[in-house]
């Protein structure tokens, strides 16, 4: 249950991609395309339309990229290098994805001012805090859903403040796209990053919404494809598959995932000394569960779960190759112990009630096995 990391390709998606890999192998050649080229061109434009519709945008406002990380880079670096306004401040939050924080670091080293907004105990950015810091900003970048704890930010509230102050607003919606409702008009978003591989689409493809009238400086240079923002031969099959995956992800899927999410959360919290990381209910991403189990360390939990055929994720320092604890759990005020034991389970549209029951039982078992030998668990039980 690690579908926030990546998902399995939907066979229906694969079927419609195959055609474009084997027989329809052309690439759109521009205005005078014919035959194979025309087919590819049409397929891409249809895909563009489907994705635009999903977020209430126009097709011309969608550019295809190689994925969420590239979309984030094009949006942030593209704004920083543009002449949108003279602001030197990049305003973002402490719990963004590494690809945002890393780019912000690079810009800070190049003379921009990086301001990382605090979040509360559930991971929410306070829009008032955005308002207080928005003056002199070039860009506000706040994600829609958090990758670890599923917090769904008040994107509309933040967007309104940015728009009123003439500052561009980028939203990283990689985790939530096609699962949660997104309306770039209503939410006053200027730039929005999307990804395919988290919704059973192919890897290596994503999209960036660039609001009509927003002029970005390219990060990659070459031809004029994708408005010059993503030059090069387009990933035709990937784009076709991406759009199909979006089409196949329905509101019913989200409703079902939300129900299973709540069931899983409830049964995991029935384990003693556990704590939910992130919010509950409508303000949480529909497929995300994150619980810290005291007195045990996450890597050991993961390893035991893996031996029992269950794949999850953890914010433990021991699991990260850099031995750093989760920046998200730390930012919401969690202790180092809470970050070492934070366990993320993320559902997919195919997750069943049976899967949830197996996950619960297995996690419970493993936490018990490890607590039996943990000096911390023993001390706590003696203290009672």
């Amino acid at each position: 249950m690690d579908n926030a990391e990546t998902t399995k390709l939907d066979p229906v998606v694969f079927d419609c991609m195959k055609d474009f890999m084997v027989d329809k192998y052309g690439v759109p050649a521009g205005e005078f395309g014919y035959g194979l080229e025309e087919e590819a061109g049409e397929a891409i434009e249809q895909a563009r339309e489907k994705i635009a519709r999903r977020i209430n945008a126009s097709p011309e406002e969608i550019i295809f990229t190689s994925g969420g990380m590239e979309s984030n880079n094009i949006a942030i670096l593209g704004t920083a290098r543009s002449n949108y306004n003279k602001g030197k401040r990049i305003l973002t939050s402490k719990i963004e994805h590494r690809s945002i924080l890393r780019v912000a670091d690079i810009l800070a080293a190049q003379g921009f001012e990086k301001v990382l907004l605090d979040v509360d105990r559930e991971g929410f950015v306070n829009p008032a805090n955005v308002k207080a810091n928005v003056a002199d900003a070039r860009l506000v970048s706040v994600q829609h859903a958090n990758q670890e704890i599923g917090t769904l930010q008040d994107v509309g509230g933040i967007g309104r403040i940015a728009r009123e102050n003439g500052v561009l607003f980028h939203c990283d919606a990689v985790q939530s796209f096609a699962k949660e409702k997104l309306d770039v008009q209503a939410m006053k978003v200027d730039l929005l990053s999307m990804s395919s591989h988290l919704i059973h689409g192919p890897k290596g493809v994503g999209a960036l919404y660039v609001r009509d009238g927003v002029k970005l400086e390219p990060v990659l240079y070459g031809d004029d494809r994708e408005k010059g923002l993503r030059p090069g031969t387009p990933n035709v099959a990937g784009i076709v598959g991406f759009a199909k995956a979006v089409e196949l992800m329905t509101d019913e899927d989200a409703v079902r995932m939300r129900e299973l999410r709540d069931e899983l959360t409830k049964s995991l919290l029935a384990i003693s000394d556990s704590r939910l990381n992130g919010p509950r209910g409508e303000r949480r991403l529909c497929n995300n569960v994150n619980v810290s189990f005291r007195f045990v360390e996450g890597e050991a939990v993961l390893m035991h779960l893996d031996l029992r055929g269950l794949v999850v994720n953890t914010g433990s320092a021991c699991y990260s190759q850099k031995l750093e604890a989760s920046h998200v759990i730390r930012a919401i005020g969690g202790t180092l112990e809470e970050s070492h034991s934070s366990t993320r389970l993320s559902l997919s549209k195919w997750t069943t009630g049976q899967d949830v029951a197996y996950a619960t039982e297995t996690v419970k078992q493993v936490v018990e096995v490890l607590r039996a030998h943990s000096p911390l668990a023993r001390r706590a039980s003696q203290g009672r």
């Binding site: 433990s316 021991c318 023993r378």
Partner: protein, 213 residues
């Protein structure tokens, strides 16, 4: 049980996985002669050792461990206890962290510190045992050695190297006063209070920890 794909990703050997899945000598011991606790909760890497000695031969009659940590933490502690059980203190001291790692079929580079930690736990236990038997004086030098096993949770190095320990005085081998560079109500102070108290457990010592206001 399917074989772990994660183990492969981490570079854990079969032996590491065996000791992780079936740790030897794990769990609390009743009435140990000495305990030692090294590492910290904040680092996500902690072990507590329990030892019983044959006092005539200075031989390790029994050794057990408890663990809060990753798979490598559990496996190295398990292997270390296997390697030193039945040995005299002098013999056990010859077992290095490299020996533990090699006997486990090697450890990933970023997990070598787990072998170091288990070895350090053993050394600390010996030192406390010697002090308890009156063969080592409880003085500033002793305190320094014990505190090398208490870690700064933020930097992951011992509190002496991290310059958190500012002063240490010992009165008559019974009372130890430590000055610590941490705010009294901080997360750091909370973790240090617990770790330092455990570090001197079993020695009948009165501790006075001074934090900053």
């Amino acid at each position: 049980m399917p074989e772990s794909t994660l183990a492969k990703k981490f570079g854990y050997s079969e032996k590491v996985m065996d000791h992780f899945k079936n740790p030897r000598n794990v769990g609390i011991m009743e009435n140990p002669d000495i305990t030692s606790k090294v590492g910290s909760v904040a680092c996500g890497d902690l072990i507590k050792l329990y030892l019983k000695f044959d006092p005539d031969k200075d031989q390790i009659k029994d050794i057990r461990f408890e663990s809060y940590g990753c798979a490598a933490n559990i496996a190295t502690s398990s292997m270390m206890t296997e390697m030193v059980k039945g040995k005299t203190i002098d013999e056990a001291r010859k077992v290095t962290f490299k020996d533990i790692s090699e006997t486990l079929g090697g450890l990933p580079r970023i997990k070598l510190h787990c072998a170091v930690l288990s070895r350090q736990g053993l050394e600390t236990a010996f030192l406390k045992y010697e002090a308890k038997r009156g063969r080592v004086k409880i003085d500033e030098g002793f305190v320094n050695k014990i505190l090398r096993g208490v870690l700064d949770p933020i930097q992951g190095v011992d509190i002496i190297s991290a310059k958190i320990l500012e002063s240490a005085t010992v009165e008559g081998g019974k009372k130890i006063s430590l000055g610590l560079n941490a705010k009294t109500d901080s997360e750091l102070a909370k973790s240090l209070r617990e770790d330092i108290r455990d570090a001197f457990e079993d020695l009948g010592i009165e501790l006075d920890l001074k934090f900053k206001e």
